[in-house]
Symmetry: C2
Amino acid sequence: MHNELRRHIEEIVSLTDDEYSLITSHFTLQKFKKNDFLIRQGESVKYTYFVISGLLKLVYYDESGKEHILSFAMEDWWETDYQAFYSTSDATMSLQCLENTTVLRITLKDYHHLCAILPKIVLFFLKKATSGHVASQQRLLSLLSSSAQDRYEQLLHRYPSLFQRVSKTLLASYLGVSRETLSRLTL
Amino acid sequence: MHNELRRHIEEIVSLTDDEYSLITSHFTLQKFKKNDFLIRQGESVKYTYFVISGLLKLVYYDESGKEHILSFAMEDWWETDYQAFYSTSDATMSLQCLENTTVLRITLKDYHHLCAILPKIVLFFLKKATSGHVASQQRLLSLLSSSAQDRYEQLLHRYPSLFQRVSKTLLASYLGVSRETLSRLTL
Protein backbone atom coordinates (compact mmCIF):
# COMPACT_ATOMS: atom_id res chain seq x y z
CA MET A 1 0.00 0.00 0.00
CA HIS A 2 0.95 3.67 -0.35
CA ASN A 3 2.94 2.83 -3.46
CA GLU A 4 2.05 6.31 -4.74
CA LEU A 5 4.34 7.83 -2.11
CA ARG A 6 7.19 5.44 -2.87
CA ARG A 7 7.00 6.12 -6.61
CA HIS A 8 6.82 9.86 -5.89
CA ILE A 9 9.89 9.87 -3.59
CA GLU A 10 11.86 7.58 -5.91
CA GLU A 11 11.53 10.14 -8.70
CA ILE A 12 14.15 12.02 -6.65
CA VAL A 13 15.96 9.56 -4.33
CA SER A 14 16.02 5.76 -4.45
CA LEU A 15 14.88 3.78 -1.42
CA THR A 16 15.41 0.33 0.04
CA ASP A 17 12.35 -1.54 1.34
CA ASP A 18 13.50 -0.88 4.91
CA GLU A 19 13.88 2.82 4.25
CA TYR A 20 10.42 2.98 2.73
CA SER A 21 8.93 1.16 5.74
CA LEU A 22 10.66 3.66 8.00
CA ILE A 23 9.13 6.53 6.01
CA THR A 24 5.58 5.16 5.97
CA SER A 25 5.74 4.52 9.72
CA HIS A 26 5.81 8.34 10.08
CA PHE A 27 2.67 8.86 8.00
CA THR A 28 -1.01 8.12 8.60
CA LEU A 29 -3.52 7.37 5.86
CA GLN A 30 -6.72 9.39 6.03
CA LYS A 31 -9.83 9.53 3.85
CA PHE A 32 -12.10 12.52 3.44
CA LYS A 33 -15.44 13.12 1.76
CA LYS A 34 -16.14 15.93 -0.69
CA ASN A 35 -16.55 19.26 1.17
CA ASP A 36 -14.67 18.01 4.29
CA PHE A 37 -12.09 20.40 5.75
CA LEU A 38 -8.50 19.27 6.43
CA ILE A 39 -7.59 22.73 7.72
CA ARG A 40 -9.93 25.46 8.94
CA GLN A 41 -8.90 29.12 8.94
CA GLY A 42 -8.31 30.19 12.57
CA GLU A 43 -7.66 26.67 13.89
CA SER A 44 -4.33 24.94 14.54
CA VAL A 45 -2.48 23.16 11.72
CA LYS A 46 -1.11 19.78 12.78
CA TYR A 47 -0.20 18.13 9.48
CA THR A 48 1.28 18.39 6.03
CA TYR A 49 -0.64 16.29 3.51
CA PHE A 50 0.45 14.23 0.53
CA VAL A 51 -2.48 13.72 -1.86
CA ILE A 52 -2.88 10.10 -3.02
CA SER A 53 -6.17 10.71 -4.84
CA GLY A 54 -8.76 13.45 -5.03
CA LEU A 55 -8.71 17.23 -5.29
CA LEU A 56 -8.54 20.04 -2.73
CA LYS A 57 -8.54 23.82 -2.68
CA LEU A 58 -6.38 26.03 -0.46
CA VAL A 59 -8.46 29.14 0.20
CA TYR A 60 -8.55 32.36 2.16
CA TYR A 61 -11.83 33.97 3.18
CA ASP A 62 -11.50 37.73 3.60
CA GLU A 63 -13.45 39.85 6.10
CA SER A 64 -16.35 40.22 3.69
CA GLY A 65 -16.50 36.43 3.31
CA LYS A 66 -15.14 36.50 -0.25
CA GLU A 67 -13.18 33.38 -1.21
CA HIS A 68 -9.65 33.67 -2.67
CA ILE A 69 -8.05 30.48 -4.01
CA LEU A 70 -4.31 30.19 -3.50
CA SER A 71 -3.96 26.81 -5.12
CA PHE A 72 -5.57 23.54 -6.08
CA ALA A 73 -3.95 20.32 -4.86
CA MET A 74 -4.37 17.00 -6.61
CA GLU A 75 -2.59 13.63 -6.92
CA ASP A 76 1.13 13.78 -5.96
CA TRP A 77 0.85 17.26 -4.42
CA TRP A 78 1.97 18.25 -0.94
CA GLU A 79 -0.23 20.86 0.66
CA THR A 80 -0.83 22.64 3.95
CA ASP A 81 -0.83 26.18 5.36
CA TYR A 82 2.99 26.14 5.48
CA GLN A 83 3.34 29.30 7.56
CA ALA A 84 1.04 27.88 10.24
CA PHE A 85 2.47 24.33 10.03
CA TYR A 86 6.12 25.30 10.49
CA SER A 87 5.49 28.01 13.10
CA THR A 88 2.73 26.04 14.88
CA SER A 89 0.48 29.09 14.67
CA ASP A 90 -3.20 29.14 13.69
CA ALA A 91 -4.23 28.74 10.06
CA THR A 92 -4.70 31.86 7.96
CA MET A 93 -6.27 29.72 5.22
CA SER A 94 -8.46 26.64 4.81
CA LEU A 95 -7.87 23.37 2.96
CA GLN A 96 -11.09 21.76 1.74
CA CYS A 97 -11.95 18.74 -0.44
CA LEU A 98 -13.53 19.34 -3.83
CA GLU A 99 -13.78 15.55 -4.36
CA ASN A 100 -13.53 12.50 -2.11
CA THR A 101 -9.85 12.57 -1.18
CA THR A 102 -7.25 10.19 0.26
CA VAL A 103 -4.09 11.62 1.81
CA LEU A 104 -1.05 10.61 3.81
CA ARG A 105 -0.44 13.07 6.64
CA ILE A 106 2.64 13.76 8.76
CA THR A 107 3.07 15.88 11.90
CA LEU A 108 5.85 18.46 12.27
CA LYS A 109 7.46 16.35 15.00
CA ASP A 110 7.49 13.25 12.77
CA TYR A 111 8.76 15.34 9.85
CA HIS A 112 11.73 16.54 11.93
CA HIS A 113 12.29 13.03 13.29
CA LEU A 114 12.31 11.50 9.83
CA CYS A 115 14.79 14.15 8.61
CA ALA A 116 17.05 13.41 11.59
CA ILE A 117 17.19 9.63 11.05
CA LEU A 118 17.11 9.47 7.23
CA PRO A 119 19.35 12.12 5.63
CA LYS A 120 18.35 11.21 2.08
CA ILE A 121 14.75 12.25 2.77
CA VAL A 122 16.02 15.74 3.54
CA LEU A 123 17.26 15.96 -0.06
CA PHE A 124 13.80 14.88 -1.22
CA PHE A 125 12.04 17.48 0.96
CA LEU A 126 14.54 20.13 -0.22
CA LYS A 127 13.64 19.38 -3.83
CA LYS A 128 9.91 19.60 -2.99
CA ALA A 129 10.30 22.86 -1.02
CA THR A 130 12.30 24.30 -3.90
CA SER A 131 9.60 23.28 -6.39
CA GLY A 132 6.97 24.85 -4.15
CA HIS A 133 8.96 28.07 -3.97
CA VAL A 134 9.41 28.12 -7.75
CA ALA A 135 5.69 27.47 -8.34
CA SER A 136 4.71 30.30 -5.95
CA GLN A 137 7.20 32.67 -7.62
CA GLN A 138 5.73 31.79 -11.04
CA ARG A 139 2.15 32.27 -9.84
CA LEU A 140 3.16 35.63 -8.31
CA LEU A 141 4.72 36.67 -11.61
CA SER A 142 1.59 35.60 -13.44
CA LEU A 143 -0.70 37.55 -11.09
CA LEU A 144 1.47 40.67 -11.24
CA SER A 145 2.05 40.80 -14.94
CA SER A 146 -0.43 38.74 -16.97
CA SER A 147 -3.88 39.52 -18.25
CA ALA A 148 -6.79 37.34 -17.14
CA GLN A 149 -6.79 35.80 -20.62
CA ASP A 150 -3.10 34.85 -20.32
CA ARG A 151 -3.59 33.42 -16.82
CA TYR A 152 -6.51 31.36 -18.10
CA GLU A 153 -4.40 29.95 -20.94
CA GLN A 154 -1.45 29.20 -18.63
CA LEU A 155 -3.73 27.29 -16.25
CA LEU A 156 -5.35 25.35 -19.08
CA HIS A 157 -1.92 24.47 -20.45
CA ARG A 158 -0.49 23.34 -17.11
CA TYR A 159 -3.51 21.56 -15.63
CA PRO A 160 -5.93 20.63 -18.43
CA SER A 161 -7.73 18.14 -16.16
CA LEU A 162 -8.73 20.94 -13.76
CA PHE A 163 -11.21 22.26 -16.31
CA GLN A 164 -13.21 19.03 -16.08
CA ARG A 165 -12.93 18.77 -12.30
CA VAL A 166 -13.51 22.32 -11.05
CA SER A 167 -16.48 24.69 -11.36
CA LYS A 168 -16.26 27.93 -13.35
CA THR A 169 -16.82 29.88 -10.13
CA LEU A 170 -13.73 28.31 -8.53
CA LEU A 171 -11.63 28.85 -11.63
CA ALA A 172 -12.63 32.52 -11.62
CA SER A 173 -11.62 32.81 -7.95
CA TYR A 174 -8.22 31.20 -8.69
CA LEU A 175 -7.63 33.53 -11.62
CA GLY A 176 -8.67 36.57 -9.58
CA VAL A 177 -11.45 37.59 -11.96
CA SER A 178 -15.24 37.73 -11.73
CA ARG A 179 -17.39 34.85 -12.97
CA GLU A 180 -18.61 37.18 -15.73
CA THR A 181 -15.08 38.00 -16.87
CA LEU A 182 -14.24 34.29 -16.98
CA SER A 183 -17.20 33.64 -19.28
CA ARG A 184 -15.72 36.09 -21.77
CA LEU A 185 -12.33 34.31 -21.83
CA THR A 186 -11.90 31.98 -24.76
CA LEU A 187 -9.19 30.03 -26.51
CA MET B 1 35.92 37.12 6.22
CA HIS B 2 32.33 36.30 5.14
CA ASN B 3 31.33 36.09 8.78
CA GLU B 4 27.88 37.21 7.70
CA LEU B 5 27.33 33.83 6.02
CA ARG B 6 28.60 31.87 9.03
CA ARG B 7 26.37 33.79 11.44
CA HIS B 8 23.45 33.32 9.05
CA ILE B 9 23.93 29.54 8.70
CA GLU B 10 24.56 29.10 12.42
CA GLU B 11 21.13 30.52 13.15
CA ILE B 12 19.96 27.11 11.90
CA VAL B 13 22.86 24.60 12.15
CA SER B 14 26.13 24.89 14.07
CA LEU B 15 29.42 24.59 12.20
CA THR B 16 33.01 23.68 12.99
CA ASP B 17 35.76 25.90 11.52
CA ASP B 18 36.59 23.13 9.03
CA GLU B 19 32.97 22.82 7.92
CA TYR B 20 32.75 26.56 7.44
CA SER B 21 35.94 26.57 5.35
CA LEU B 22 34.48 23.79 3.25
CA ILE B 23 31.33 25.84 2.69
CA THR B 24 33.10 29.08 1.76
CA SER B 25 35.32 27.20 -0.69
CA HIS B 26 32.13 26.67 -2.75
CA PHE B 27 31.26 30.38 -2.84
CA THR B 28 32.81 33.38 -4.61
CA LEU B 29 32.66 36.94 -3.32
CA GLN B 30 31.51 39.50 -5.87
CA LYS B 31 30.94 43.26 -5.68
CA PHE B 32 28.50 45.21 -7.82
CA LYS B 33 27.78 48.90 -8.34
CA LYS B 34 24.35 50.47 -8.14
CA ASN B 35 22.33 49.68 -11.32
CA ASP B 36 24.51 46.65 -12.24
CA PHE B 37 22.64 43.51 -13.32
CA LEU B 38 23.34 40.14 -11.66
CA ILE B 39 20.72 38.45 -13.87
CA ARG B 40 19.27 39.71 -17.15
CA GLN B 41 15.89 38.53 -18.41
CA GLY B 42 16.48 36.18 -21.38
CA GLU B 43 20.05 35.26 -20.43
CA SER B 44 21.29 32.18 -18.58
CA VAL B 45 21.29 32.04 -14.78
CA LYS B 46 24.49 30.59 -13.36
CA TYR B 47 24.29 31.48 -9.67
CA THR B 48 22.26 31.81 -6.51
CA TYR B 49 23.30 34.85 -4.50
CA PHE B 50 23.58 35.47 -0.76
CA VAL B 51 23.44 39.22 -0.04
CA ILE B 52 26.16 40.41 2.37
CA SER B 53 25.36 44.12 1.96
CA GLY B 54 23.31 46.26 -0.36
CA LEU B 55 19.88 46.06 -1.94
CA LEU B 56 18.53 44.48 -5.14
CA LYS B 57 15.25 44.16 -6.97
CA LEU B 58 13.95 41.03 -8.72
CA VAL B 59 11.86 42.31 -11.63
CA TYR B 60 9.93 41.20 -14.68
CA TYR B 61 9.53 43.48 -17.71
CA ASP B 62 6.37 42.69 -19.66
CA GLU B 63 5.98 43.06 -23.42
CA SER B 64 5.04 46.73 -23.09
CA GLY B 65 8.22 47.33 -21.07
CA LYS B 66 6.34 47.83 -17.81
CA GLU B 67 8.30 46.80 -14.71
CA HIS B 68 6.80 44.36 -12.15
CA ILE B 69 8.72 43.86 -8.91
CA LEU B 70 8.58 40.35 -7.46
CA SER B 71 10.76 41.08 -4.47
CA PHE B 72 13.46 43.20 -2.93
CA ALA B 73 16.57 41.45 -1.58
CA MET B 74 18.75 42.91 1.14
CA GLU B 75 21.27 41.76 3.77
CA ASP B 76 20.93 38.02 4.66
CA TRP B 77 18.62 37.27 1.71
CA TRP B 78 19.12 34.56 -0.88
CA GLU B 79 17.95 35.52 -4.32
CA THR B 80 17.96 34.33 -7.91
CA ASP B 81 15.50 33.38 -10.65
CA TYR B 82 14.94 29.99 -9.02
CA GLN B 83 13.05 28.45 -11.92
CA ALA B 84 15.89 29.28 -14.33
CA PHE B 85 18.65 28.42 -11.83
CA TYR B 86 17.40 24.92 -10.99
CA SER B 87 16.31 24.01 -14.52
CA THR B 88 19.31 25.74 -16.17
CA SER B 89 16.91 27.58 -18.49
CA ASP B 90 17.04 31.27 -19.42
CA ALA B 91 15.96 33.94 -16.97
CA THR B 92 12.34 35.11 -17.07
CA MET B 93 13.25 37.95 -14.69
CA SER B 94 16.13 40.29 -13.92
CA LEU B 95 18.07 40.92 -10.72
CA GLN B 96 19.47 44.44 -10.48
CA CYS B 97 21.29 46.47 -7.79
CA LEU B 98 19.49 49.42 -6.22
CA GLU B 99 22.61 50.17 -4.12
CA ASN B 100 26.28 49.12 -4.29
CA THR B 101 26.00 45.45 -3.35
CA THR B 102 28.31 42.66 -2.13
CA VAL B 103 27.22 39.05 -2.55
CA LEU B 104 28.48 35.51 -2.20
CA ARG B 105 27.50 33.45 -5.22
CA ILE B 106 27.32 29.67 -5.76
CA THR B 107 26.81 27.63 -8.95
CA LEU B 108 24.24 24.83 -9.19
CA LYS B 109 27.06 22.29 -9.52
CA ASP B 110 28.75 23.55 -6.35
CA TYR B 111 25.39 23.68 -4.57
CA HIS B 112 24.78 19.99 -5.35
CA HIS B 113 28.38 19.11 -4.46
CA LEU B 114 28.15 20.87 -1.11
CA CYS B 115 24.86 19.08 -0.34
CA ALA B 116 26.47 15.74 -1.19
CA ILE B 117 29.51 16.16 1.07
CA LEU B 118 27.96 18.07 3.99
CA PRO B 119 24.53 16.66 4.95
CA LYS B 120 23.89 19.31 7.61
CA ILE B 121 23.91 22.06 4.95
CA VAL B 122 20.95 20.30 3.29
CA LEU B 123 18.95 20.92 6.46
CA PHE B 124 19.96 24.60 6.28
CA PHE B 125 18.96 24.91 2.60
CA LEU B 126 15.68 23.06 3.36
CA LYS B 127 14.87 25.65 6.05
CA LYS B 128 15.67 28.49 3.63
CA ALA B 129 13.65 26.95 0.75
CA THR B 130 10.74 26.46 3.15
CA SER B 131 10.96 30.10 4.29
CA GLY B 132 11.05 31.21 0.67
CA HIS B 133 7.98 29.13 -0.10
CA VAL B 134 6.15 30.53 2.94
CA ALA B 135 7.07 34.11 2.00
CA SER B 136 5.85 33.62 -1.59
CA GLN B 137 2.59 32.05 -0.33
CA GLN B 138 2.06 35.03 2.00
CA ARG B 139 2.78 37.56 -0.75
CA LEU B 140 0.37 35.69 -3.04
CA LEU B 141 -2.30 35.83 -0.34
CA SER B 142 -1.66 39.52 0.14
CA LEU B 143 -1.93 40.26 -3.62
CA LEU B 144 -5.11 38.19 -3.99
CA SER B 145 -6.96 39.44 -0.98
CA SER B 146 -5.66 42.74 0.40
CA SER B 147 -6.33 46.31 -0.57
CA ALA B 148 -3.41 48.47 -1.70
CA GLN B 149 -3.63 50.26 1.66
CA ASP B 150 -3.29 46.95 3.55
CA ARG B 151 -0.38 45.82 1.37
CA TYR B 152 1.35 49.15 2.00
CA GLU B 153 0.95 48.76 5.76
CA GLN B 154 2.15 45.13 5.70
CA LEU B 155 5.27 46.14 3.78
CA LEU B 156 5.98 49.06 6.11
CA HIS B 157 5.54 46.78 9.11
CA ARG B 158 7.80 44.00 7.77
CA TYR B 159 10.54 46.08 6.15
CA PRO B 160 10.50 49.60 7.60
CA SER B 161 14.02 50.29 6.26
CA LEU B 162 12.80 49.83 2.67
CA PHE B 163 10.92 53.11 2.87
CA GLN B 164 14.20 55.00 3.32
CA ARG B 165 16.07 52.97 0.71
CA VAL B 166 13.63 52.62 -2.18
CA SER B 167 11.92 55.18 -4.40
CA LYS B 168 8.15 55.70 -4.35
CA THR B 169 7.99 54.50 -7.96
CA LEU B 170 9.57 51.16 -7.03
CA LEU B 171 7.33 50.75 -3.99
CA ALA B 172 4.28 51.34 -6.22
CA SER B 173 5.53 48.68 -8.64
CA TYR B 174 6.03 46.19 -5.80
CA LEU B 175 2.55 46.89 -4.42
CA GLY B 176 0.99 46.56 -7.85
CA VAL B 177 -0.50 50.07 -7.81
CA SER B 178 0.11 53.25 -9.76
CA ARG B 179 2.44 55.96 -8.45
CA GLU B 180 -0.65 58.17 -8.00
CA THR B 181 -2.47 55.55 -5.94
CA LEU B 182 0.59 55.13 -3.73
CA SER B 183 0.62 58.89 -3.02
CA ARG B 184 -2.89 58.60 -1.62
CA LEU B 185 -1.92 55.79 0.79
CA THR B 186 -1.25 56.97 4.31
CA LEU B 187 -0.77 55.58 7.78
